[in-house]
Symmetry: C2
Subunit: 659 residues, 2 copies
């Protein structure tokens, strides 16, 4: 196994400049980050106050008042700062940096002498630090602030927040550990584990990595910390006045604390907690070359992505606990598929790529990115889905209580705290997801086809290249080498699953064969400056079938083209969409509509509609099939899933009945 | 509109003797009633105590102790007594009658001087009578006891319980009414309204009918009683320590109290409450010849049975509030379709038949009876479904919290109080559902084809007849007249919707034409003793389609034969059942299997199965349709829905994909 150095292990060396993605990144920079800043400062008139900045001012002694917001409110400030860090790395902005520096001052002032930092406990429950890890998100908030500190340090070179968080991490390391006077515990919501690995990579301090490993290895060990802690607290809860019984095994599975992490092989419980934890596990497996942990990651990856993932890259199919349910249980209508969970899946995929470059990880990463994640955001960047359904019947969302959680329209984003900032920090750090490289193996892996510039330091020397991509509309991608060393290095181009193995390669205009390794086209040679690799995986519209065990998709097809899943909307196809069907061998016609939804590919096909006109108004609802007229011919029209819900409210479906 | 006198308006004149139904009725008599008696007396070792009889002993001053069970625990005693009454009417049993007489003694002793009777308020909250109609089921319990009193009086001629309940009704009539010193209120759970009509019909006392009408007409009037009452009670609740806000309009819809009853046109809210209320409305429309109320009944009937009813006769599609959701929202997997709701639908259908003899009402009555209702009970009579699903995936019932309410196996009946006694009282009074007759119009309507003897008093004179039926296995039904008057009367035979209008009639072996009116074959003549009418509606197995607006059934077919809906079980067809499909014109082969499930018709057909073998273990869950092999041929096997779940636990589905 090669050790692979992340492009993120140092200041970002990739800069995105891509027709498709520039708009998203600009939306985050120009709209989401400023808007969120207003929200954090309670300056949006129609919104519930956030209290997040005010909490820090109170904790810093600059203001009097009570704690406001959720117990994990600090994490909103952290996620904003992290997104700012990523954004500044790509797009310097002196004013934004000054604002961020001010917030960092405030955070530093809110830190206790001993390093402790959490405004909820500082303001509201000063005597209760570390007594309710199960519920209080104390280490979770710490983790997000560590991630912010690292991102801001990489972007600006300023270490103030990094120093604050190192001090806090040192404090945490004194509180938690295997010694008799230490807590053998971990947080109810995983997050600090992956953050500590980042802190380790930014500082080189191994003790942070060790602390992450401690948290991972303690989780699920006997006697169960979360059970014992609840007993010690006499069941006191921050969510209810009722005293809680210690969590059962089923309840512990919600926190992935039902059994030791290394022994887990099925994705269970709260999906976001799960993928944040798997991300840290993959990090640790890589950094410490821990094969047992790597094997656990592979098992969990396989279970999650092969048996519990929607075609859109959504995970966590039930809203009860925002959780995984079980293998192949992927209902399209009562779905959850939270935005944050897919973002966490992308984190995990990237860590798996760092651990071992297999195209399968990038395939899933791309699927989640191009569908579930960007589909969660409206075109104006101000409305978001938390739940990303594959089938919507607006009346059911309103009137069937079992579907209230499935919204037919994106919600104003200030009403909710977790998903929009997570989208912001992912999109503003998207440059980190395009490549990985292995210095020792002299190999650059191109995982995503997103245009921009990139620089790599290999054993062979420095490489600089420029990628131009027309995805998701056309697949022709061009890599031009602007700086190359004198000796051999390898360019590994992902053969995306969607091309069905058909991908043409040209070097300087001349077609060339290539060797394939783990799903990548391998080109090893001595390169010349100006060399140009043209990579054209076949981009065809196709009908996709689901595994027969996924009951919800039986007899149905999805339409895919390249990384994009398509869907049918009522506005294009009428309703009920359930009455539509398509032949299994239907010809799919692809065209680009420059006027529609800011310009998009549309896929059309001949299909059928069950004839509702043949049913008299107020007819009995059931009648002999023999009386049913043959369905009538219709023209079906599908748009990319990520664009749904940007026109009139109506039905939407990804899966379409086949004939 | 003819006034039609119910066969129930007097001691029962119909006695069932039918190969199919005898078994059910005997099960109720021999198993359910004795078992329930043990339960009411806390004598079932493994069961939670009921406390129901003990509560009466405490209220009667015969025992010390605290109230036990639910606030509506008295109704369990009432439902048991009512079933006993119905059973004694058909099958005298001196010991059972002695037991019932003893219970009635006890009830009489628990009655207060002023007529009040309710053990919860007597024992637990003596000062709080009539202060929480919204939650406390006080009039609901009274209603059930009135129904018991009437049934027991008809069965035995003994009026002790009837007198107790008349006295209680008189007390209620003094408390509730339009006068300033009276409560302008009604119960949160409708039931007393239909019971008061029964009390009126048994006693001839119009004030009971007037009181029923008062409750019906006050419901939903402004100012809303349930809102005002909650305010007067300062939000105190018997379900929670929290103070309740007055109910919103949406919450009032749960109790059908969101608008005046006469203005309602859509079935909303808790399904059992709804159909109990509609039953009383139809009664009152008939008794008082109230056309406005009749029109409301027709509207509600039409909405409910044409847009909110499952093919099994199940109603109330969501478990949230055990309620209706909205038109055409009939999910098969997250279904509720409570047993009691279908029983209430049968009550309502029978009242509509009394109001106007249209075969549509009987079609629905038969559908609910032969499918949802008898399907709720296991073959041993000791296990019951509350929720009657049309699609079951046992693992999902266990592991997807949104489907926990859908059980894959019937539950031991003592764990639950409402459905089993309701099944018992319906089946033991099934004789009341077979016919209605109109004395003035000299017409006997045969609604259900269930064998037995019946006597009718028409203006023309006395009629006695014997019905022999082979349903649901064969449709040939024979009516033999054993006593006839000298002048003309009419025999009206329902043309069931399932025969598609094809039904042959013979008189004494000679084919005869007939006139059709409102879905009945009309035969008016002067009859001779010994005349024999043979009625043979065509009984064919067929595939049934659902209205295209029912999204859940799109592209699917159900298999029906006569009154029976069929289903596929895993034990016969493997799993996943979702991978199976059938041609729209498949030939259905019918055979009787005497060994299977006590003897049943089985329907077989050629079908297709998506090939799961073609998917490698651990393969990615999505792949091009083009790689999907053609499905393989299989032989499908369907059994009657009412028999499902009596073999190994497994998947079940009513709706099958069509090709």
């Amino acid at each position: 196994m090669n050790r692979i150095i992340s492009s993120q292990s140092g200041r970002s060396a990739v800069r995105i400049d891509d027709e498709f993605w520039n708009r998203f990144i600009e939306l985050v920079r120009g709209t989401v980050i400023p808007y969120q800043w207003e929200a954090l400062n309670d300056s949006i008139p129609e919104a519930e106050p956030s209290y997040a900045i005010r909490n820090f001012r109170i904790a810093a002694g600059m203001e009097e008042g009570a704690f406001g917001g959720m117990v994990f409110q600090d994490s909103d400030v952290a996620k904003w700062l992290e997104a700012v860090g990523f954004s500044l790395a790509q797009h310097p902005d002196a004013e934004l940096e000054r604002t961020a520096d001010g917030v960092i001052e405030l955070i530093a002032m809110a830190q206790h002498e001993d390093g402790y930092l959490n405004t909820y406990f500082t303001i509201k429950a000063p005597g209760e630090r570390w007594t309710n890890l199960y519920e209080a998100h104390e280490l979770y908030c710490a983790g997000h602030m560590m991630e912010a500190a690292v991102a801001y340090y990489y972007a600006t070179g300023k270490s103030k927040l990094l120093d604050v968080m190192r001090k806090f991490a040192d404090h945490i390391a004194s509180v938690f550990g295997p010694e008799p006077d230490q807590l053998r515990g971990y947080d109810g919501h995983q997050e600090i584990e992956l953050a500590l690995v980042k802190l380790y990579e930014a500082t080189g301090e191994e003790r942070y990595m060790e602390l992450a490993r401690f948290f991972i290895d303690e989780r699920g060990a006997e006697p169960n910390f979360l059970v014992e802690e609840t007993k010690r607290r006499d069941g006191r809860s921050i969510w209810t006045d009722r005293k809680l019984e210690p969590p059962t095994l089923l309840q512990l599975a919600y926190n992935q604390a039902h059994r030791p992490v290394r022994e887990q092989d099925t994705a269970v419980g709260h999906a976001v907690r799960a993928v944040y934890m798997y991300t840290a596990m993959a990090d640790l497996a890589r950094v410490t070359e821990d094969r047992e942990l790597r094997d656990a990651c592979r098992r969990l990856w396989n279970n999650m992505t092969r048996k519990q993932m929607y075609i859109t890259g959504g995970i966590g199919s039930t809203h009860h606990g925002e959780a995984f349910s079980f293998d192949y249980d992927l209902p399209n209508d009562t779905v959850y598929a939270e935005t944050c969970a897919s973002i966490g899946l992308i984190f995990f995929a990237r860590r798996m790529l760092l651990l071992e470059a297999k195209s399968e990880y990038a395939d899933v990463m791309e699927r989640a990115l191009y569908n579930n994640v960007i589909g969660s955001m409206s075109q104006d960047g101000k409305h978001y889905f938390y739940v990303n359904p594959l089938e919507v019947w607006p009346e059911a969302s309103e009137r069937n209580p079992g579907r209230h959680h499935v919204k037919a329209t994106r919600q104003k984003w200030f009403g909710c705290s977790c998903c929009p900032p997570n989208v912001a920090r992912l999109l503003s750090s998207l440059n980190d997801y395009v490549y990985t490289s292995s210095a020792e193996a002299n190999t650059i892996y191109a995982h995503l086809f997103i245009g921009g510039e990139a620089r790599f330091t290999l054993a062979a020397g420095e490489v600089a290249l420029q990628q131009q991509s027309l995805l998701p509309w056309e697949s022709d991608t061009r890599f031009t080498f602007t700086a190359v060393p004198e000796s051999v290095f390898t360019m590994a181009l992902r053969i995306p699953s969607w091309c069905g193995g058909s991908a043409a390669l040209r070097l300087n205009g001349v077609p060339m064969d290539y060797e394939t390794r783990n799903g990548y086209a391998i080109v090893s040679r001595t390169w010349s400056q100006g060399d140009c690799l043209e990579w054209a995986p076949e981009l065809r519209a196709q009908l996709t079938a689901a595994h027969p065990s996924i009951r919800a998709d039986a007899g149905k097809a999805a339409i895919e083209r390249g990384p994009l899943v398509f869907c049918l909307e009522e506005t294009d196809n009428g309703q009920p969409l359930a009455s539509l069907s398509i032949a299994r061998d239907a010809e799919l016609q692809v065209r680009f509509d420059a006027e529609l939804l800011g310009g998009t590919v549309v896929i059309e096909a001949d299909g059928y509609a069950d004839d509702a006109a043949a049913w008299q108004e107020d007819a009995p609802p059931y009648r002999p099939m023999a009386q049913q007229p043959a369905s009538r011919a219709v023209r079906l029209r599908a748009v990319p899933y990520y664009l749904w819900g940007n026109r009139e409210t109506g039905e939407m479906t990804v899966w379409l009945r086949t004939q």
